[in-house]
């Protein structure tokens, strides 16, 4: 029985995986910017070390979030027809590519592992996530992607 809400394909008992996973990379990448700023202000290497671990952890969970999101994207044409989905997907792809570059920059030794290239990349990624996150929320709260049909 096809309802009117776009359906999530990667889900368990009606709970889509993608929204469960995305908070991890988002928090990690925002955290990276915070610890980068802390390093920039203090020159204490501990903050830079935290940044590179946050980036790495964020990228690993992001990989699973991408897989779940992509399955949903392929699984229902109504999802693909949403404009918000395309902004969300392309924006996040750019954020991920920048974060991969950023993890290499952060793997340098000393000050230039963060300042200036690393911290700029971290900030750009957070700005992109604000836009793509907004689109993600629109998909769920406005377009009801993965939301259960109301029983009459």
């Amino acid at each position: 029985m096809a309802g009117s809400n776009p359906r999530s394909t990667a889900q368990i008992a009606g709970h889509p995986f993608h929204p469960m996973l995305v908070p991890f990379p988002i928090v990690c990448f925002v955290g990276t910017l915070v610890t980068d700023i802390a390093y920039w202000c203090t020159a204490n290497m501990t903050w830079a070390v935290m940044s590179v671990w946050l980036l790495t952890a964020g990228l690993i969970i992001a990989l699973f979030a991408v897989i779940a999101g992509f399955i949903d994207f392929l699984g229902d044409r109504r999802i693909r027809n949403l404009r918000a989905v395309w902004i969300h997907a392309i924006g996040n792809a750019i954020a991920l590519i920048l974060s991969i570059i950023n993890v290499f920059v952060h793997s340098r030794d000393g000050y230039t592992s963060v300042v200036p290239t690393g911290i700029i990349l971290s900030a750009v990624v957070v700005l992109i996530l604000l836009v793509t996150g907004w689109q993600g929320w629109a998909m769920v709260y406005r377009h009801r992607v993965g939301v259960r049909e109301q029983t009459p």
Binding site: V103, S107, R108, D109, G110, T112, S113
Partner: protein, 432 residues
């Protein structure tokens, strides 16, 4: 080429190949090496050779010289010391495992595994004796066991000193002894773990025997483990032999090894491994005399006032004091052994000059080092270009061995410890 393969190739190129072209290493030899612009990579070039052992192969000695294995089948022989009666001591040693501080460390530990011998080191000192003088050791004993990454060795009178990675120990020794069972007495603690990035502590004694000098390498490439981790490091320590009290004799030497007094000027000389990840031709490793109280730049600058932007906060006051080293050996050759030749077996042109072992590079595309070179000296100063003495350690992408410690034996032969090859090589004049 399909678009996908093309994209992958482009991505790989973008990560690795956007670097400067390597320069001829000959431009980075001597007192005034050419220093290119700093280039920080996204993914630094890594060229790790595969260890294949020697099989039937041999290293190649320079014309007029011949090479023979003094001892084979050793477990990571890294440093050598010749006792007055001609007995040869070999430290079978390896560094402590460095803790993983950043994700990058997983890759570095893997490189370390590839580049170094897979044989677990003995953590002991062996004694080799050639009783019939044929250039092959026919007696081998365990001289000292249960050490902690030993490297430096020196005998003063009846006191035998070992520099473990975290302390200098003193043992009683009488001439002809083949095994020491007496417990060692602690003379001085040295900076050791838990990080212990550069762990080899080279050791020598002043000509009058009152002081010991120990090389203490930095705890990082360029302070990425925090400046607090560098206390007492990247320095040559002067240790009072009677009391164990120490002071920093010279600082700013990233990883000083091969501490030796030059026979003519009686000045202390070392070879130093300089910093990585600034490009294939930065920063040249070097050979230098060590002046009392001098600062040689690390971490703030290199070759005098060339500031390293990776160190924060910077210290212009220290950079202003930094002095350039005497003699560059070109980049990433990893010199670990140094000995001045005072014997009379080798041709006269070698007398008074220095033999330097170059363990070999891993962080540049074109390999550099993997050989023993001779640097001629005149009036206590280097007086010409280095000459190859022992080569053939690498063959394309395969390493047969890697030279580390060097020493001159009681018959004037040059000894070379080869950690990967598990061998001590002996170089003599051809036909002698």
């Amino acid at each position: 080429m399909t678009p996908r393969i093309f994209l992958c190739a482009m991505a790989a190129l973008a990560l690795t190949a956007c670097g400067p072209d390597p320069i001829n290493p000959k431009r980075q030899i001597g007192a005034h090496p050419f220093l290119p612009e700093i280039h920080e990579y996204l993914l630094p070039p890594m060229h790790v050779v595969t260890n294949v052992g020697w099989g039937g192969a041999m290293p190649k000695a320079a014309p007029g010289l011949q090479v023979k294995a003094l001892a084979t089948g050793l477990k990571n022989p890294r440093s050598l010391y010749v006792l007055p009666n001609g007995d040869i001591l070999v430290a079978e040693t390896d560094g402590p495992k460095e803790p993983v501080s950043r994700p990058k460390q997983f890759i570095f530990n893997w490189i370390e595994q590839q580049a170094h011998s897979s044989v677990k080191a003995g953590q002991r000192i062996l004694l080799l004796r050639d009783t019939n003088g044929d250039g092959v050791a026919d007696m081998q004993t365990v001289f000292l066991d249960h050490l902690h990454s030993p490297f430096g060795m020196v005998l003063v009178g009846n006191d035998f000193y070992v520099a473990d990675t975290d302390s200098v120990l003193r043992f009683p020794y009488t001439q002809g002894q083949t095994q020491i069972t007496a417990p060692g007495a602690l003379l001085t603690e040295l900076p050791g773990g838990p990080i212990d990035h550069h762990w080899t502590k080279s050791l020598t004694a002043s000509p009058d025997g009152t002081k010991l000098y120990a090389g203490v390498g930095s705890n990082s490439n360029i302070t990425e483990n925090g400046i607090e981790a560098e206390r007492g490091r990247a320095a040559v320590w002067e240790i009072d032999r009677a009391t164990g009290a120490h002071r920093l004799y010279a600082t700013g030497l990233r990883n000083p090894n091969g501490l030796t007094f030059e026979p003519e000027s009686h000045a202390l000389w070392v070879v130093v491994n300089e910093r990585d990840e600034l490009g294939p031709d930065l920063v040249p490793d070097y050979l230098t005399s060590v002046k009392d109280g001098a600062f040689y730049g690390w971490p703030y600058s290199y070759y005098g006032q060339h500031v390293d932007p990776r160190v924060m906060p910077q210290r212009p006051d220290l950079v202003a004091k930094a002095i350039p080293p005497d003699y560059a050996l070109s980049s990433h050759v990893a010199p670990l052994g140094l000995v001045f030749y005072t014997g009379d077996n080798l041709p006269a042109s070698y007398r008074g000059g220095a033999f330097v072992s170059e363990h070999g590079s891993w962080d540049r595309d074109t390999l550099n080092g993997y050989r023993v070179v001779f640097v001629p000296f005149q009036g206590g100063k280097p007086s010409g270009m280095p000459q190859d003495v022992l080569t053939g350690f690498v063959d394309g992408d395969h390493a047969h061995g890697r030279p580390v410690g060097v020493a001159v034996d009681s018959h004037g032969g040059l000894l070379v410890a080869d950690d990967v090859g598990g061998t001590v090589w002996r170089v003599t004049a051809a036909g002698r």
